[in-house]
């Protein structure tokens, strides 16, 4: 059969994050149509790329479009159907959208069940996208029944797409249950494939949308294992709503899209136990694996900015570990940090979970996840330290924020892949491995440091700061002051480390200490000079010896009066 119709072109308009989501989705082709379903969803991701030429794709010039798809799979897969794992999405995206509506209606809640099935198959499917592509093509029909052909591997694009519509639509199937908040979802497929609304809706509806970047707020809605923390998060509905995961997903989806439902949901989350929430979350996550769409609405806009940087960083990493996030959540809660911090972490976790499904990198993401939490934790502790140090005009130039005021957060805020071992350390580290690597990059872009070397350097930095601060405190004490000021550190560093730090000097001018010379010394020098002059006048070649003798005599004479002079003192 023709490969599943290419995914609706609307997806193409979505930014890359969606594309990322789609690949993740592709990784877990919906169970209903294990292999065949894959192609359609995979094709959907390609649609976004092809949205530019939706008519062409639908028209049968699918051949060219499919070719484009593979090159642009990661692209705008705003559609919930993440191009199955790979990029082969040249699938007939155009067809899918049309058939989506029927599919969606057919299974309002089955998708979740399908998703559950897809979960186990996801990894396998993701692993063999190319093979899946080939397989799905032959049997597009099964996909149609499938429900959520999420993450269906990209199917041959050149296939006419006519039959795939249901398949492609299946990718959006998750939206139907979520579509409640978005009533327009079913209509989306009917729209021209270029309609970007399709993409958007599923994005909204889909909970585990790879909220990358700004959408991180939406991801928060996800089940976050941190049920308890969810309450804190406003608008991030606790998926706890009802046991059925479907409901949860609905709720979660609703939140991002509608503000009203949020409030009621917020209340609900507080009551349910975190355990149940986590469970439901897991279910949702598994089901929503493939769907990673950007939640356009930013329900928790307030958290967005804070999470944004983290989210953006996470985007490239596909984090998994749903389970890991669980222990992390509890870990996080223990952190005395502000709620925001927790929320941020939660968001990250959610994002991580989402990514994990999509995902391609599994282990790394986990590490990143851990790192993020640790980084967040460290941030606060480090920031305080940094601020204190900065106030002293710290000479910690090693940190990435030399001479900057309160940019301590920036330094530790770099959430990047770091070895787990780094995070294992407790907070209160002045120099993070990430900052160290950036410093090295400034020196040599291609230089790499061993982990042991990094450890040693971090230790050296800490020792330096400690020694400088200690001595500066003793100087301040010597100054009979209880405040450690910049000049204390400047003095120590300048005298003992021979380091000048411009910019912190203040208004004092360094006084020049004239060498102290005794009167006697001055007298003697004067006498010697006179004798030297006299001898030179007398004729150097003639009596050098005589001159010397004369000078010696004068020296003796000078000594006599010099000895006498002290008595006068």
């Amino acid at each position: 059969m023709d490969p599943p119709p290419p995914p609706p072109p609307s997806a193409s308009s979505e930014p890359p994050p969606v594309a990322a989501a789609s690949p993740s989705q592709a990784a877990q082709p919906p169970s209903p149509a294990p292999s065949p379903a894959q192609p359609p969803p995979s094709s959907t991701p390609s649609t976004p790329a092809e949205t530019l030429t939706p008519p062409t794709s639908s028209s049968s010039s699918s051949a060219p479009s499919p070719t484009q798809n593979p090159s642009t799979p990661p692209q705008p897969l705003s559609q919930p159907q993440p191009s199955p794992q790979q990029q082969s999405q040249t699938q007939p995206p155009s067809i899918q959208p049309q058939q989506r509506p029927p599919l969606n209606r057919s299974r309002p809640q089955t998708p979740y069940a399908h998703f559950a099935h897809h979960l186990p198959s996801a990894p396998t499917s993701s692993s063999g996208p190319p093979s899946s592509i080939a397989s799905p093509s032959p049997s597009p029909a099964p996909m149609q029944r499938g429900g959520l052909a999420i993450g269906v591997p990209a199917h041959n694009p050149h296939h006419p797409r006519p039959q795939q519509p249901p398949l492609s639509f299946s990718t959006f199937s998750p939206s139907p249950p979520f579509s409640q908040p978005f009533s327009s979802t079913p209509r989306v497929p009917e729209q021209s494939p270029t309609s970007s609304s399709q993409v958007r809706q599923p994005v909204q509806g889909i909970q585990n949308i790879g909220m990358i970047g700004a959408l991180s707020a939406g991801s928060q809605i996800r089940p976050s294992v941190m049920s308890g923390s969810q309450q804190q998060r406003f608008g991030q509905p606790p998926l706890r709503s009802a046991s059925p995961s479907a409901n949860q997903t609905l709720n979660s989806q609703k939140f991002p899209s509608h503000g009203l439902p949020r409030t009621p949901s917020m209340a609900s989350p507080s009551s349910p136990s975190p355990v149940s929430q986590s469970q439901s979350l897991q279910q949702q996550l598994s089901s929503a694996q493939g769907k990673q769409m950007h939640a356009p609405s930013a329900p928790s806009s307030s958290y967005r900015p804070s999470v944004k940087p983290h989210v953006l960083q996470q985007r490239p990493h596909h984090l998994q570990q749903h389970q890991h996030s669980l222990p992390m959540t509890s870990h996080q809660q223990q952190i005395p940090s502000s709620q925001q911090q927790q929320q941020q972490k939660q968001q990250q976790q959610l994002q991580l979970q989402q990514h994990q499904q999509q995902a391609s990198l599994s282990h790394q993401s986990h590490e990143h996840h851990n790192q993020q939490y640790v980084a967040l934790r460290n941030q606060q502790s480090v920031t305080q330290q940094q601020q204190a140090v900065r106030a002293l005009g710290s000479t910690v130039q090693k940190s990435n924020v030399p001479g900057q005021g309160q940019s301590g957060v920036v330094q530790s805020g770099n959430i990047s892949p770091v070895v787990n071992a780094d995070d294992a350390e407790s907070g209160n580290h002045v120099l993070s491995k990430r900052s160290l690597r950036e410093l090295v990059a400034q020196i040599d872009p291609f230089e790499k440091l061993d982990s042991e070397v990094e450890d040693v350097l971090v230790e050296v930095a800490e020792d330096f700061i400690e020694s400088v601060t200690t001595f500066a405190c003793s100087l301040a004490k010597h100054r009979k002051s209880t405040t450690l000021e910049a000049k204390d550190i400047l003095l120590h560093v300048e005298r003992n480390w021979n380091m000048t730090l411009p910019g912190f000097g203040g208004d004092e001018i360094k006084c020049y200490k004239k060498q102290f010379t005794n009167d006697i010394h001055k007298e003697r020098i004067a006498v010697i000079k006179k004798s030297m002059v006299a001898t030179s006048d007398a004729g150097n070649p003639k009596n050098p010896a005589a001159g010397q003798a004369a000078s010696n005599a004068k020296a003796h004479a000078a000594k006599a009066p010099a000895i006498g002079s002290p008595k006068t003192h």
């Binding site: 004092e508 001018i509 006084c511 004239k514």
Partner: protein
């Protein structure tokens, strides 16, 4: 205490327990205008940030202060502070050294020119 201190009245008390010179307040913005032009010449924005100019000024003042202190140390051995002391200190920096010698030679030439001009004026005036 009571005039018992015969001898030189200016007897130094315990060396530098009392600094003879007080620490002066440094005036900010001494080189502000000139530095801006120089920074522009080296590639910076025509209107650099004030903080940048202040930092550069700190660096410049610190450098000059350090140089003068070292020159004083060298000159005190000789007894007087001469320009040769400064040239001696920057001997390791060829561009600076060359520039300094060039400026000094130009200064001498200008002096000669002025002198010649004045002399010629005088002769003319005398001739009149």
């Amino acid at each position: 205490m009571h005039n018992s201190s015969s001898g030189p009245p200016a007897k130094p008390r315990v060396g530098s327990s009392q600094p003879s010179e007080a620490s002066f307040k440094r005036k900010r913005g001494v080189f502000q205008k000139d530095l801006q032009h120089m920074m522009y010449g080296f590639g910076d924005d025509p209107n650099p940030l004030p903080e940048t100019v202040a930092l550069l000024e700190d660096i410049v003042v610190e450098y000059i202060t350090d140089l003068v202190h070292k020159a004083q140390d060298v000159g005190s051995k000789r007894g007087k502070l001469l320009t040769e002391d400064f040239l001696y200190l920057i001997r390791k920096d060829p561009p600076k050294l060359h520039r300094c010698t060039e400026l000094l030679s130009m200064n001498e030439e200008l002096k000669q020119a002025r002198k010649a001009f004045d002399v010629s004026e005088e002769t003319l005036a005398n001739a009149d």
